[in-house]
């Protein structure tokens, strides 16, 4: 079975037989036409929808000649190929219709040409569509690229192999600081300073030689300032594989670089702060540990005298025990002594607490001008009985004129009393005449020194002498009473008065404690 090629055909023709002849001719040429004959403008328009593959038009149709039909086609934007079929040759019409877009011009008496003519028209038509499509695509691609080049947040350029600029977007001109539209057709050497141009040319040459994509960070110095850029250079290769240029993409990474640097700084700063915080936390932990230690020590020091007080009170109150009068008196003495000791302890603790808080808020207590000779005389008169009781003697030397000291009188008296009672406690009974107290002024300070010829302080105890609750081995071994707070209190008070304390001691020979206080001007 011979199946022809399907063909939607519109025939503009007054004569049915003529139309049939055309169809027959096409069938003979191997087509299978699905055809419609029209002879009025209205029918023509109807016949254009859907658009036929081919239109055959008898030029002689009254009111609907080939020119008219071509005009209608154009108006309706139908681009089906139209072949004019005419009874007689009219050269003028022939030229006119061909100019208006007719695909061919045939004479009715030479219809053998009809088949090839339709064939040719269809092929031409297809080629035309393809060409138009290709052109459209090309235009589209070009606009896409133009948009990209114009709006990319990057400076772009393309140079030919010999270095002539083929393309440079506005961003490139701004980045490189050249006026708009001055680059195309020119060389780097014609536009940029020698050094810069040379560098760019060398990099381009590198890219062309290796035929690879090169990526490097560069610094561009422009009148507006220094910019950091990331430059990507690539060889531009056409579809035949031939290199015809060098493309360059510059990304401005100045901001990124700056942020990176800031981040680095911030990070370093954060780390050092974290370190500081860590040290602070460590310090607080240590303080907390010291505080616990202190509370433990205080509790320990309070418990011992309380044990005596409680035990001897119990003894006195015990109905089952009938104590002789002198024994009862001894109990009371023990209670009295231990109560005194507790009182002293509490007072020492209070003073330490005061000087501790003075570290934080100085001068929380009102200060007055204090005469140190007076303070020393007062302390000596209080302690003289116990000095004598211990079988020791005491000599006091006071300078005639000593400037006053700014401070707390009671606390300063406490300093002298503690030093003096230490001198008594640590002097053996046979060191008669040993204790010397002197006060003198020197430059802008007042000095108090207390010397004894007692047991002295061993080298191993020097460092800890002013530590709270520290008791020397000698003191413990000899059963010398004390809480280990006396010198801590002295040091605390002297420090809070802006003074200094120093120790000179030889074990077995004696000790001299020297306190220096700033005098009021």
């Amino acid at each position: 079975m011979n199946v022809g090629r399907k063909l939607r055909l519109l025939i503009v023709e007054q004569q049915q037989e003529d139309a049939e002849r055309l169809v027959a001719e096409l069938v003979r040429a191997g087509f299978e036409p699905d055809w419609l004959r029209v002879e009025t403008p209205e029918d023509l328009i109807q016949g254009l929808y859907p658009a036929p593959n081919v239109i055959l038009c008898d030029h002689g149709t009254p009111g609907l000649d080939a020119v008219e039909v071509l005009t209608t086609l154009r108006r309706h934007r139908v681009d089906s190929p139209l072949i004019v079929v005419s009874g007689q040759l009219d050269e003028e019409i022939c030229v006119k219709t061909l100019r208006m877009g007719a695909a061919d011009y045939l004479l009715k008496d030479r219809l053998a040409r009809l088949g090839p003519a339709v064939e040719h028209a269809l092929v031409t038509r297809r080629l035309e569509i393809e060409k138009r499509e290709a052109e459209r695509k090309e235009r589209e691609t070009a606009s896409i690229l133009r948009g990209l080049v114009a709006h990319a947040p990057a400076a772009l350029s393309v140079k030919s192999v010999d270095g002539t600029y083929l393309l440079a977007n506005r961003q490139f001109e701004v980045l490189r600081g050249v006026p708009t539209g001055t680059l195309i057709g020119r060389l780097d050497a014609e536009v940029f300073p020698v050094q810069q141009a040379r560098e760019m040319t060398a990099l381009d040459a590198c890219c062309l030689r290796d035929l690879t994509v090169m990526e490097r960070e560069e610094e561009i110095v422009e009148p507006s300032g220094k910019r950091n850029v990331l430059c990507i250079r690539y060889p531009v290769i056409d579809d035949t594989g031939e290199v015809f240029g060098i493309g360059a993409i510059y990304l401005d990474i100045t901001r990124q670089k700056r942020v990176e640097a800031q981040l680095r700084t911030a990070r370093a700063e954060m780390l050092s702060r974290a370190e500081m915080l860590g040290a602070g936390i460590e310090q607080l932990r240590e303080l907390n540990r010291l505080k616990s230690q202190f509370v433990d020590a205080v509790s320990h020091e309070l418990r011992t005298p309380l044990t005596s007080i409680r035990g001897y009170l119990e003894l006195l109150r015990d109905d089952d025990v009938d104590l002789a009068e002198d024994l009862a008196r001894r109990c009371l003495d023990v209670i009295d002594r231990n109560s005194e000791h507790l009182m002293g302890l509490v007072e020492d603790l209070l003073i330490l607490s005061q000087v501790d808080s003075a570290d934080i808020a100085p001068l929380t207590r009102p200060t007055k001008q204090v005469s140190i000779p007076e303070v020393v005389s007062s302390a000596v008169s209080i302690l003289r009985p116990s000095v004598q009781q211990a079988g020791l003697s005491l000599s006091v030397r006071l300078d005639q004129v000593v400037p006053p000291v700014n401070g707390d009188r009671d606390q300063l008296e406490r300093v002298v009393m503690n030093l003096l009672s230490n001198a008594v406690k640590f002097s053996p009974v046979d060191a008669a005449g040993a204790i010397e107290v002197s006060v003198f002024s020197q430059d802008d300070s007042v000095t108090v020194s207390v010397s004894d010829r007692g047991i002295g302080i061993g080298a191993q105890d020097r460092d800890q002498l002013f530590t709270r609750f520290f008791r020397s081995v000698a003191a413990r071994d000899r059963g010398i009473p004390g809480s280990g707070l006396g010198l801590a209190v002295v040091k605390g008070i002297v420090d809070s008065h802006g003074g200094t304390i120093s120790v000179a001691s030889t074990p077995g020979r004696g000790t001299t404690m020297i306190v220096q206080l700033p005098a009021t001007v």
Partner: protein, 128 residues
């Protein structure tokens, strides 16, 4: 009653304990330091009970008990201490001794002694 060795460096407290123990019929030897205590047991052997102050000036009470056990003069022990921290109390009880925190009443001390001597709920520690 019992032979009790009291080792306490504070003279007033030592005298008080000795007096109290004598009053309830114990025989008491009161010593002020660890070295003296070791000397004494070396001469007269182990007592029925030790009362040891932890805060002795020469050797602390825990070590003293350790030494006493080493030389084979073990006896039930009551520690006395002005330290009330759990770690210290724990150390004392871990050694199988009773631990009294100062200040304590005489009744507490005598009660503790009775308890230890009657062997109730206080295990008499052995080193191993």
């Amino acid at each position: 009653m019992a032979h009790i060795l009291v080792i306490e460096d504070d003279r007033e407290i030592r005298d008080l304990i000795a007096l109290r123990l004598l009053m309830v019929g114990h025989s008491v030897l009161a010593i002020s330091d660890a070295v003296g205590a070791l000397d004494t047991v070396d001469r007269i052997g182990a007592p029925d009970l030790y009362v040891i102050d932890v805060g002795l000036p020469d050797i602390d009470g825990f070590r003293l008990l350790g030494r006493l056990r080493e030389v084979g003069v073990n006896a039930p022990t009551i520690f006395l201490s002005a330290h009330a921290q759990a770690s210290e109390v724990g150390l004392g009880t871990a050694m199988g001794a009773k631990y009294l925190t100062k200040p304590f009443g005489s009744r507490t001390l005598i009660g503790a002694i009775d308890e230890v001597l009657s062997g109730r709920d206080v295990p008499v520690g052995s080193a191993e």
